[in-house]
Amino acid sequence: MDNTTRIVKESKNKIRAEFERTPLLDRLRSKFINMYTVQRVAWYLFRFLFLLGISYVILFPFFSKISSSFMSGEDFVDVTVRLLPKNPTLATYAGVIKYNGYFEALFNTFVLSLVCAVAQTFICCLIGYGFAKFKFKFNKLLFALVIFTMVVPHSTLQLSMFMEFRFFDVLGICKLLNAMGVIEEATISLLNTNIPLYILSFTGLAYKNGLFIFLMRQFFRGIPDELEESAYLDGSGVFSTYFRIILPLSVTMMVTVFMFSFCWQWTDNFYTNLFYTSAGPYLLPDIVKVPKGLTDGYTTASTYISAAARNACGILILIPLIILYLFGQRYIVEGIERSGITG
């Protein structure tokens, strides 16, 4: 292409350069139709579709739970009904709330989960800080023990854990009290109370607490030591430094740990099966059954009713968690991003 430039002198101190400009189409073509752009766009599209697809796979069970929980008996036998029920009914929800004691279970589980989650958050934070920032004898060894508690599956220990809390006696205190005549038996049974889970939470031994301690430790290792050193120089003690400087810094991480522990405790059925019998307090796992009032009308379609009841229970259990997640999900990503885990 001949693009010779002509320079024309218009006036005394003004020149104009005249040249043949490449047409707009050509310029756009050379800019966008090349391997680089094609690759980028293809990668972008692939990424987007991939994420979209996986999101669908993740969210689908929730949609199906919601739709199934609103279905009436007729919808279940109707072949034309797919996701959207034709005769939506609230009877299942009403039944679950009315006959299955939803609110009682909700309250009990809420108290249990809240106490456990708060305890686990603060205790794991404390322990993680201890492991991250202090050099003392056996630091490494003790941290290996933390990992050890994570490696031993809790179901390995279920029998002895049950026994431990069924016949609870720490350091023979109960035996001593028994000898003194304060209590009647040599051991006390902590089953059907929240105490076993509280004890496990307050000692950092509950479900996946090893992971929380690990995350906290990594997070605190990412905080520069100079921060604390300057606080010490200013005369602040170890504990006031921890409470005044470190804790406010680690809010996002603590929210993350809180969310994990709260939600895992909320939907937990391993420990609730282990430590609570039918005589115990009414918890959320207990509500997952077909409510009494619903079985009368549809005796033939009982499997369908049980599906509806199960999904309605699932939704009712999930609602508080979803609300919590909407508020807290931001912190999870943020908290993790700041932790700067490097091996």
Partner: protein, 327 residues
């Protein structure tokens, strides 16, 4: 308690405050460290150690729960272990298939979570929403909800077999996304063994399960990716490296320690998850007889196996891990 006298060179005494407490800052900090981990220490010594000890002890005993609320132990030596290995008809087969399954699952979980973390770490429309969605399973689909989901899936499979719609919404969770037949057609000319085809098909059909188990790993990978300095990427792009090259030459070495951490976590998670075959079998043994000590023996053997696998995995992988030298 005069530590200063013993280690005078260690004492860091501020001017004006001479030997006030008698302990150097290091010693005081060490003491504070013990205090910080005190809850764990107390719990471990008073609660966890007895539980572990009891569990090991029970595995060597016969246990009988007495009517009055007590229990009786009789020492039987290695009998429980012997029974578990040689007498129980299903334990060994379950153990072997469970091990196989986990070993196949672990690489796919680690690689998938790494891939998702990388994709989620890049700029894309609706990134925040995608991130929020991807962490839903690990938070919400656990325990109870997982059980409800599993029952729904069962229902769907059953009603699909019967030809009735159960209403819980179509085939997607239960029916296969791709079938072995299709894949076989695709791979027929590639000389790839049947096992690999089944493996790939299993992976794709099992995607929900895999995503479900990826949550924590994705979080850890994301945080690791965030820890890589953007300056490295910048200099790479100035030197003209493509995204592909950057991934292999920068991202992968930089996240390799995290791959190690995540692999170990995945091994632990895969082997101790409640839906693991072996764990489920041990649970049924435990439940069927109301606290059979056989389950203790089995799970201790299983635990030893897991420890061995972790040691092997970390031993092999740590040879390939790249640590950036920090100054």
């Amino acid at each position: 308690m005069n530590v200063n006298a013993k280690t005078p060179n260690k004492s860091v005494s501020a001017p004006g405050k001479k030997k006030k407490r008698g302990a150097s800052l290091d010693v005081r900090k060490a003491r504070a460290g013990w205090f910080f981990i005190l809850p764990f220490l107390i719990g471990f010594v008073l609660i966890y150690l007895p539980i572990i000890y009891d569990s090991i002890k029970y595995s060597f005993h016969e246990l009988r729960i007495l009517g009055g609320g007590g229990f009786e132990l009789t020492y039987v030596g290695w009998e429980n272990y012997f029974n578990a290995i040689f007498v129980d008809p299903e334990f060994m087969t379950t153990l072997i298939t469970g091990l196989k399954q986990s070993i196949l699952d672990i690489p796919s979980i680690v690689l998938f979570s790494l891939f998702v973390a990388i994709v989620l770490n890049q700029k894309i429309a609706g990134r925040a929403a995608f991130r929020a969605i991807f962490f839903i399973p690990v938070i919400l689909t656990t325990g109870l909800i997982g059980e409800i989901d599993a029952q729904n899936t069962m229902n769907t499979i059953m009603s699909n077999a019967e030809g009735i719609n159960d209403g819980s919404g179509g085939e997607s969770t239960a029916a296969e996304i791709i079938s072995v037949m299709d894949m076989e057609k695709l791979f027929a000319n590639m000389m790839i063994g049947q096992e690999i085809v089944t493996y790939v098909v299993g992976l794709v059909n099992n995607i929900f399960n895999i995503i479900n188990r990826c949550g924590v790993q994705m979080l850890i990978f994301l945080s690791g990716l965030q820890g890589i300095s953007p300056a490295i990427y910048e200099s790479c792009s100035i030197d003209g490296a493509s995204g592909w090259e950057t991934f292999w030459k920068v991202t992968l070495p930089m996240v390799s320690p995290i791959i190690l951490v995540n692999t170990i976590y995945t091994v632990i998670d895969a082997f101790t998850a409640a839906d693991n075959q072996v764990m489920a079998y041990i649970d049924t043994i435990y439940g069927s007889t109301g606290g059979d000590v056989l389950s203790s023996a089995m799970s201790w053997m299983y635990f030893l196996l897991v420890i061995l696998i972790i040691a092997a995995v970390s031993g092999i992988m740590s040879a390939f891990v790249f640590y950036q030298r920090r100054d």
